[in-house]
């Protein structure tokens, strides 16, 4: 239960929140009015908190307990078509089970927001943290953010809604299972008034009588997808504009990548909560004479190609440390980076099944990369 004293949204203030609760607060402040809930560890607290928050807005918020994740996303699709601001949260097997309709939401260009509390996909069974579930969603026409801590998780939800509704694409917000979902920090919670001034009411487009998502034959299909692709890439500009406005209205700035000593010849690249450890590793390595910086990829889709190119222009090695399991040539993000930057990208896999990623892990990876090696840190 959320303590009563945290439920005053009329004033801005610092509140100790877990990452899950921060997401729930972000969703409530964004005035999402259709929540589809299905339990899966480690996202369950998000929907539990939302069930409590929904009681504060009884007639203005539908909290729907569905019978599967497939139905959670399907009902978000129906609700978004019907004019509601829809939200759901999931992880792991859940997102795999709903995958078909995740793709549908992207193709239908519906501004749904979904939080993913990352977790291993079985087998073997494990409920621990891993980013594979999030990474498998990279090419579904969803805008994808990955937050590093509860504060950023909260802030990213209203940003995601604003972007989704302006760009007409759904948006996914990832946070690390346990490391962020179950980790409590003081979070500066904006007031309802502040968020309202940033995120306007959803524009409702009525469609009577219209047919949606009918069969498109081969004369038009390719062109249809091309338009979708162009629009998706163009959403980068909307995201940058919206992030600037969030900074102006709320006072916290976010961008596609976060940088630390980025003018170093070795650059560690990470996603999510491990960024702090990566920074510590970079500092120690630099002291030892191996000049190292770190960057965190906050936005995965649309992929911030230009920003990455710019920041890594003078780097000799890009050490990509990924907490996800890919059986292709390299890690999910390393593939992308190799396509842009070539051989200087070194791919490392580690941290699977909740294994800690510490500064030592990063230091090992950097040292291997300087010897032109890549692979696993066990």
């Amino acid at each position: 239960m959320i303590p009563e004293k945290f439920l005053d949204f009329s004033k801005r203030g610092k509140v100790p929140l877990t990452g899950s609760r921060a997401i729930a607060f972000g969703v409530f402040l964004s005035r999402a009015n259709f929540i589809a809930a299905y339990p899966i560890t480690p996202q369950t607290e998000i929907v539990e908190d939302l069930s409590q928050l929904a009681t504060l807005r009884e007639k203005e918020m539908e909290f729907m307990k569905v019978e599967s994740e497939h139905s959670a996303m399907s009902s978000c699709i129906g609700a978004a078509i019907g004019g509601a601001r829809a939200f759901t949260a999931t992880a792991s097997q859940g997102i795999e089970y709903m995958h078909e309709v995740v793709y549908w939401a992207g193709g239908a260009r519906l501004p749904i927001v979904m939080a993913v509390a990352t977790r291993v996909i079985a087998p073997p069974w494990s409920i621990q943290n891993e980013h594979t579930d999030f990474m498998l969603q990279l090419d579904n026409s969803w805008i994808q953010f990955f937050a590093k801590d509860p504060q950023e998780a909260l802030d990213t939800i209203p940003i995601a809604y604003r972007v989704a509704e302006e760009a007409n694409f759904p948006a996914m917000v990832g946070i690390d299972g346990y490391l962020t979902t179950h980790f409590t920090t003081n979070v500066d919670v904006p007031s309802q008034e502040e968020i309202d001034s940033f995120l306007p009411k959803k524009q409702i487009k009525d469609f009577w009588p219209r047919t949606l998502y009918a069969v498109v034959d081969e004369r038009y299909f390719n062109e249809h997808r091309y338009k979708q692709y162009k629009a998706f890439l163009a959403s980068s500009k909307i995201i940058e504009k919206v992030e600037k406005e969030y900074s102006k209205k709320i006072g916290r700035s976010y961008s596609a990548i976060e940088k630390f000593n980025e003018d170093s010849k070795n650059l560690i690249l990470v996603i999510g909560a491990s960024f702090g450890e990566a920074q510590l590793a970079a500092e120690e390595l630099t002291k030892e004479g191996i000049k190292t910086g770190a960057i965190r990829l906050r936005r995965l889709r649309p992929f911030p190609e230009d920003e990455i190119k710019k920041v890594s222009k003078d780097a000799e090695k890009i050490i990509v440390v990924e907490r996800s399991f890919a059986t292709g040539s390299f890690g999910f993000i390393a593939r992308e980076l190799r396509a842009i930057l070539g051989e200087k990208v070194k791919s490392f896999t580690t941290g699977l099944g909740g294994k800690d990623i510490t500064k030592e892990t990063f230091k090992k990876a950097v040292k291997l990369a300087t010897k032109n090696e890549r692979g696993w840190i066990l």
């Binding site: 009015n33 259709f34 589809a36 203005e60 539908e62 729907m64 307990k65 569905v66 019978e67 599967s68 497939h70 139905s71 959670a72 399907s74 009902s75 978000c76 699709i77 129906g78 609700a79 978004a80 078509i81 019907g82 004019g83 509601a84 829809a86 078909e100 309709v101 549908w104 409702i204 469609f207 009577w208 009588p209 219209r210 047919t211 949606l212 998502y213 009918a214 069969v215 498109v216 034959d217 038009y220």
Partner: protein, 297 residues
């Protein structure tokens, strides 16, 4: 009782347009035509999962529907309808939501979703148009395919009985009705009644399919009528825990009053190899169906 005159008074134009992409004699297209006419005074939104109806409505940018259609993934229709009807409720929008799904999309792949929506008593009308197989992919058996019917995946005839979806839906405690294209006024009344009730409503619409059942396309209504006259398909309503046999089926409660089942079977190529023993078993199945319904009267 509604009459043809009443219906024509509401407008002679069609709400579901002719010249659509259905096969000649398609039961589903007839069903959509009656459904659209029954709801012509409403703002109504029809959710259609993958099925023949995804095709027969027409290819973009054409559409046979003069109402709103939301196409959706196979197993998702009851949930898409749930989201839509709840969003309309939030906006106080007076619109009706209807699912129009095939038997595969309802009784097989969409079954968990259907049951979930019925259990939560979501506010929409779900219509299963039952052509007793996966017809859009080329006649593969479903749980609604009857015993001994030949499909492309049951070349020797189906070994199992048709799953009693009506009974399963009845145990959810919701409004359930069956309807047939041979009795359009009965279907009209059931649609209008169902749409006026709050909560979840389920209609099972019998939908003969000329290429799938292997009969000449002009015989759709004859076959649909024979299905009722032989009690192969019984028309009834289930409301507040009670079954009420509908007028067209009332005369066939006693086996001696029914037309011989053979008359229904022999018109269809899918039953061409049926044995006397099989026919006996099917007649027994019909008697059982009556007994089950009578328990709820």
């Amino acid at each position: 009782m509604i009459t043809i005159k009443d219906i024509l008074k509401e407008g002679k134009d069609e709400v579901w347009l002719p010249g659509n992409l259905s096969c000649p004699g398609c039961g589903a297209s007839l069903g959509l035509r009656y459904l659209a006419r029954a709801l012509r005074n409403e703002e109504f939104y029809v959710v259609i999962p993958a099925s023949c109806s995804s095709v027969i409505q027409g290819y973009w940018p054409n559409s046979a529907a003069k109402f709103s259609v939301i196409n959706c993934a196979f197993a998702s229709s009851a949930s898409v309808a749930t989201g839509l009807s709840r969003a309309f409720k939030l906006r106080n929008k007076k619109a009706k939501v209807v699912v129009w799904a095939g038997d595969g999309g309802t009784a097989d792949i969409g079954f968990a979703t259907l049951s979930g929506a019925a259990e939560r008593n979501e506010d929409f009308l779900y219509i299963m148009y039952d052509n007793e197989a996966y017809m859009n992919t080329g006649i593969q058996r479903s749980s609604q395919t009857p015993y001994k019917a030949i499909t492309t995946t049951t070349p020797l005839g189906k070994r199992e009985e048709k799953k009693d979806l009506d009974l399963i839906m009845m145990t959810h405690g919701v409004y359930v009705a069956t309807a047939s294209p041979a009795f359009p006024l009965d279907f009209f009344e059931k649609v209008r009644k169902a749409i006026s009730l709050p909560g979840f409503k389920f209609i099972h619409f019998f939908s003969p399919c000329p290429p799938g059942w292997r009969y000449p396309s002009e015989k759709t209504i004859e076959i649909a009528r024979l299905a009722v006259q032989t009690s192969f398909f019984i028309l009834f309503e289930f409301e507040n825990g009670k079954v009420k046999i509908s007028q067209p089926s009332l005369a066939y409660r006693e086996e001696k009053n029914r037309k011989p089942l053979e008359e229904y079977l022999k018109l269809q190529g899918r039953f061409k190899d049926i044995s006397e023993e099989d026919v006996k078993r099917m007649k027994e199945w019909i008697n059982q169906k009556w007994k089950t319904l009578e328990k709820f009267e």
